[in-house]
Amino acid sequence: MPVKITELTNDLVKTIKAAQMYQTTHPSFKNFFNQLYQDLVEYLKTNYQIVFQIERFSIRYEDYVVYEETEKDISIAFRLFRDGIREIKFSEGITDDELLIFIEVISRTDRDQDIALNLWECDLSHISFYVVEEEEEKLTYSIPEMPKMEINYDEAVKGVLSKEKIEFTDKINVDITPEELRQLKSAITEVEKQIPIGIVISTLIDALKKSQSQEIIDALVEMLELSISTNDFNNACLIVNQLWNYNDINLISRIENETLVMSFAGLPDILDEQSFNDFIALIGFFSKKSVAHFVRILKNIKNQQRLEALRNRLAYICQGDPSPLIDFLKSSDLQILTNAIVILGIIKNRSVIPLLENLILHPSVQVRMAIIDALTELGEAKMIAGFLNDVQNEVRIKALHALERIKYPPIYQRLIKTIKKRAFLKLNYNEQKAYFNCLVANRDNRITRHLEQILFKWAIFSGKKYLIKRQLAAQALAKLNSSKAIEILKKGAEKRNEDIRAICKNALKFTSTKGEDKNV
């Protein structure tokens, strides 16, 4: 046997074994592989091709057995033989990519792999193989009789031509123009890409609409799981949504469980905008039983906007029923507790108000702020007003914002009283501003007068601090934009006090010239 053949066979066997032990990127595998490729190319340069015959437990080159292994589980020959491969030929021009694919395919040891089919699929140009089918029995075939009919065949042809309105003399030109060729090439390029899954889904659903089929439903469930596991929420939504519209079938109910929901953890922060929107849409199909799991995954979301979107979605799933969240009100995990409170607010079920009331004095600022959010959703202004005495200014500011938003006129008197107090000047700018905004939002007919007093008040002490208060009063008047408010500002713009003059002139810029009365 030629020495080169022995070397090549050894290289081949070592490389296959290495591929079974290591990744193909592993240096050990690469060493064996490079040696094999180098030797093979060199051999083929002078011999053009090398053909190995595959036998049950051995590989032969011409009359020589170059490999033998009788243990089925590890025998390379047996695996090839079992799948019908009887000959493998390597030809000159082989590339390292081709050889690598070949090695990868024949190294797979799983019993359900069909090596012949896998090699066919790889379509390697310089590695060919001969396969025998399992069934070697002789196939018999016979020429079917041509049924002879007692008819006039020429008339039959004429009849068909007349029925189809065609003539044998009709001109047929099958030349393909360059433009048509371009069209064809583009159509082929299109099918060479993966088939758009959306078309498959629509077809499955369309077929299901016309004929109920368990196989199609199962297939859609499988495709749904696949889509979700690959974060393809667009197609997941398409499946769930279309099926819901057509057949009132909610596929989510078949796959919904804690593991699935927990697998979404972290996703809201990393999905792109479109995928996140699809994700949110998909969540809408989950049932109340998943709400508790979702609340757990909310805790690590950093993107505030997306967190809010998810909270809203979970509230939507609850459909007015707070029960999936009630237990969380006892949670010691502040984030879980906070999310539960906010979602309860969005649900707008007033039965939870007493439960929230129990948490008003919760030591955590975050929780108290969440309660304000919830109470805002519930329109519970009176309870929110209680937070104006909170020790934390951010809580107080939040309460002011909430009252500004939901409007609570009875608070006016309390607000103006606070504003007029000397202690007001000690509050930070944001809180002062929140007070004035809240005042405007909950105004009564005394507001213009009150603001005028604040604006023009003679302040001997704390002049600088009072300046801010004046500014806020002027801005409030500008916001009112009533004729009376503008008149006051104009008056201020004429004052001798430079500060008042400047503040009023500036505020006037934010009023409309008409001085529209805003129901004051």
Partner: protein
């Protein structure tokens, strides 16, 4: 076919054509010579010479058979035709080829066979060697001469298809591995001899229409896919889709499927559901992967017409079927028309079916794909029975690339009405013999299948 060999053939074609029209100093010719020499030098630098060989209507480029594909079809067909006309077996280009030698050689192609040989011998080309055929070439198609393997492939495929359909019908286990293997063997066989398998699709067994038809649509679709230059993995999808296009019929009562005579309106409506049932059957048989997706879309869409009509009704009429479904639509219609069925005992003549396809382009069928179909199958497909101007009756043995109306035929009945094992004639090379019309072979007790299977 590799891109470099395609480029080579294209540039040779362009150069030969240019020398027919322009003189050697023309810019067009100069540019084409440069392009050709650049191409050829790449091969020479890699240490290769170039051999173009013609054997049995196929062109081999350095021993690799070039497939007739839509792209590059004109150049390959031209080359095949001139080599045949001039009795050239092979042309070998050697290193050292100069532009003058090349131009002189190309300009010879406008002559007839004798003048070409005479001029070639006189000119003494050093870097271009031509080998001529010494006797008229063998016209017996490959599959008839050495067709045992291809017949085995076809009938094995038929058996596997039959098993698959019967098992589905009987709700028994389906052997998908054999089925997958069949697709690959069909693709391999087609790449070796396109016309062999196509010829076998014309043997129609009345009793086994469903199986025959499924396999035939698979084979015809694969032939189209190959001509379109599809990659192997896409041919697998197309072949599977073709074979499984009617699989939904297993969900329909056999009484309707096998009913002799015309179907009632209600029965017809039930039968039409096979496109829809096919979707479930394919999922059941193949599971879910890219090949299944192509197949289930094809099953669902293979009765969708190009103009938006057809069944099942589509939500949006502008939705076009996939390329696979459009191919299968044509192959399905052709095979159905040319096969005898309970409600159509006398099938259409293949030549008529071709014209029916053509007359329905842009309504039922995609015009462009129908053109490709006719390019492959010709106006007189294999086994067509023809009446000739000589009074003889012949059957078509294979197509001539580029001559859809002048196939290679075999005389089977002489002008005295006697059955003969007559000569094989290439009509593209014999202008004296003309086709009068296509006829039913039964009229003369001819069974074309005998000429395919008993060689």
């Amino acid at each position: 076919m590799s891109e470099s060999s395609k480029d080579f053939i294209n540039s040779l074609y362009a150069l030969i054509k240019a020398t027919f029209v322009y003189d050697f100093n023309n810019d067009v010719v100069i540019n084409l010579v440069q392009r050709f020499l650049q191409n050829i030098n790449k091969f020479f630098q890699a240490g290769n010479q170039i051999e173009i060989l013609r054997y049995r209507d196929y062109i081999f480029f350095n021993k690799v058979r070039m497939r007739f594909e839509v792209e590059g079809y004109a150049s390959l067909q031209f080359l095949e035709e001139v080599l045949k006309k001039l009795w050239i077996k092979s042309i070998t280009f050697l290193p050292g080829l100069k532009s003058n030698e090349l131009l002189n050689f190309c300009s010879l192609f406008k002559y007839d066979k004798d003048t070409f040989i005479q001029n070639y011998n006189q000119s003494g080309f050093g870097s271009i060697q031509v080998e001529f055929l010494t006797e008229q070439e063998e016209l017996v198609p490959e599959f008839l001469k050495d067709g045992e393997q291809i017949k085995k492939t076809y009938f094995k495929a038929l058996k596997v298809t039959k098993n698959l359909i019967q098992n589905l019908w009987n709700r028994q286990h389906v052997d998908t591995r054999s089925f997958r293997r069949v697709i690959y063997t069909l693709i391999d066989s087609l790449s070796q001899d396109e016309f062999g398998l196509i010829a076998l699709t014309t043997i129609k067994n009345f009793d086994e229409y469903t199986y025959n038809h499924s396999l035939n649509v698979g084979v015809l679709s694969l032939a189209m896919g190959q001509r379109l230059g599809m990659e192997k993995r896409n041919l697998v999808k197309l072949g599977t889709a073709g074979l499984l296009h009617d699989i939904g019929k297993v969900a329909i009562s056999k009484q309707i499927i096998d009913k002799p005579g015309a179907l009632t309106k209600e029965e017809w409506e039930i039968l039409k559901n096979h496109s829809i049932y096919g979707v479930s059957e394919i999922i059941k048989t193949r599971g879910l992967d890219d090949i299944s997706f192509a197949s289930l879309l094809t099953s669902y869409q293979h009765h969708w017409n190009y103009n938006g009509t057809g069944y099942p009704e589509r939500l949006d009429q502008k939705t076009q079927p996939t390329l696979y479904a459009r191919i299968v639509r044509i192959c399905d219609a052709y095979d159905a028309m040319t096969t005898s069925r309970p409600y159509q005992l006398l099938p259409y003549l293949p030549a008529v079916a071709i014209r029916v396809l053509w007359s329905n382009i842009n309504t039922y069928f995609d015009a462009l794909l129908t053109k490709v179909f006719i390019q492959i199958f010709g106006l007189y497909p294999v086994t067509s029975c023809l009446e000739l101007n000589t009074g003889d009756i012949a059957i078509v043995l294979r197509q001539n690339p580029g001559h859809i109306d002048r196939p290679i035929i075999k005389i089977v009945l002489n002008n005295k009405g006697e059955k003969v094992n007559g000569p094989i004639i290439d009509l593209s090379m014999d202008n004296k013999i003309n086709i009068i019309k296509a006829i039913y072979p039964q009229r003369y007790d001819i069974n074309p299948g005998e000429h395919l299977l008993t060689q």
